[in-house]
Amino acid sequence: MSTMPAVGESLPPLSLPPISRTTLALFAGASGDHNPIHIDLDVARSAGLDDVFCHGMLSMAYLGRLLTNWLPQSHLRSWSVRFVSITPIHGEPTCTGRVTAIEDLEGLPVASVELEVVLADGTRTLAGVATVSLGELQ
């Protein structure tokens, strides 16, 4: 069973392999986001870009894995992210989270978790925060 986390504690990070064109094609189909700018080089070039870039929601889904690897999904009350920069094709994301506060909400402990996705070259792509219930943890 999970044990009660402490303020300052980091979540076990989630490092992903470089994002391939195959992953973007699969994610387009699986997620229902068919915007061709992520999968069709011709469309990307017509918008003045050198190449396709990754779906922001793919990185958010990786952050979702970070959170549900840490605690069961039912503990996740709310979260939001800002997509602060584009993830280029072959970007290699690492998801991290850190508990920044634990407060009592209606008698139950609730943690604030700071979230980040950073690429291997240091580019920060997503920044966010989650509110996670710690009730029922010992």
Binding site: A30, S46, H55, L58, Q73, S78, R82
Partner: protein
């Protein structure tokens, strides 16, 4: 031009988009799990999900956004504002949950445009949509979506 785009943009604030129902199908959730490299079997193996206390495969945290992409005429607002898909970036996304939805459950989505603003003299336009999700009248989640529209030289 900019004043005009602000007026047209502000006109969409409060617009209620058509509500619609959506169901997360098991096969689609398995495909999603594969696409994001999900290694936790509760998201793709029914027996594991049942053993974890779910009544079917759980809908993972961001998948409600995917279901919302299936809304009728998804590009209506962009079309009304003469925005090309290639100009659109996802700015922010948020979720607030009441409980975890599961595969097969009929979910009702009620989306609404809640804000519009511009920055840098209209070079960046921000459209905010909020969506309530319910199941049999009981709350499931709320979604908040911010898209950013940039000026581009389009071929």
């Amino acid at each position: 031009m900019t004043a005009n785009s602000v007026t047209r943009g502000r006109d969409i604030v409060g617009l209620e988009l058509p509500s619609f129902t959506a169901v997360a199908e098991r096969g689609q959730l398995r495909f999603f799990a594969k696409a994001i490299g999900q290694d936790n079997p509760i998201y793709w193996d029914l027996d594991s999900a049942l053993a974890a206390g779910y009544t079917d495969l759980p809908v993972p945290p961001t998948f409600l956004f995917s279901l919302e992409l299936g809304r009728p005429d998804p590009y209506r607002v962009l079309r009304e504002l003469d925005i090309d898909m290639r100009q659109v970036l996802h700015g922010e996304q948020g979720f607030t949950y009441d409980r975890t939805a599961v595969a097969g459950e009929e979910l009702l989505f009620c989306p609404r445009m809640t804000d519009y603003y511009e920055k840098r003299d209209g070079a960046l336009r921000f459209l905010i949509r909020e969506t309530e999700v319910t199941s049999d009248g009981a709350p499931i989640a709320r979604l908040r979506n911010v898209i950013v529209v940039r000026e581009l030289e389009l071929a």
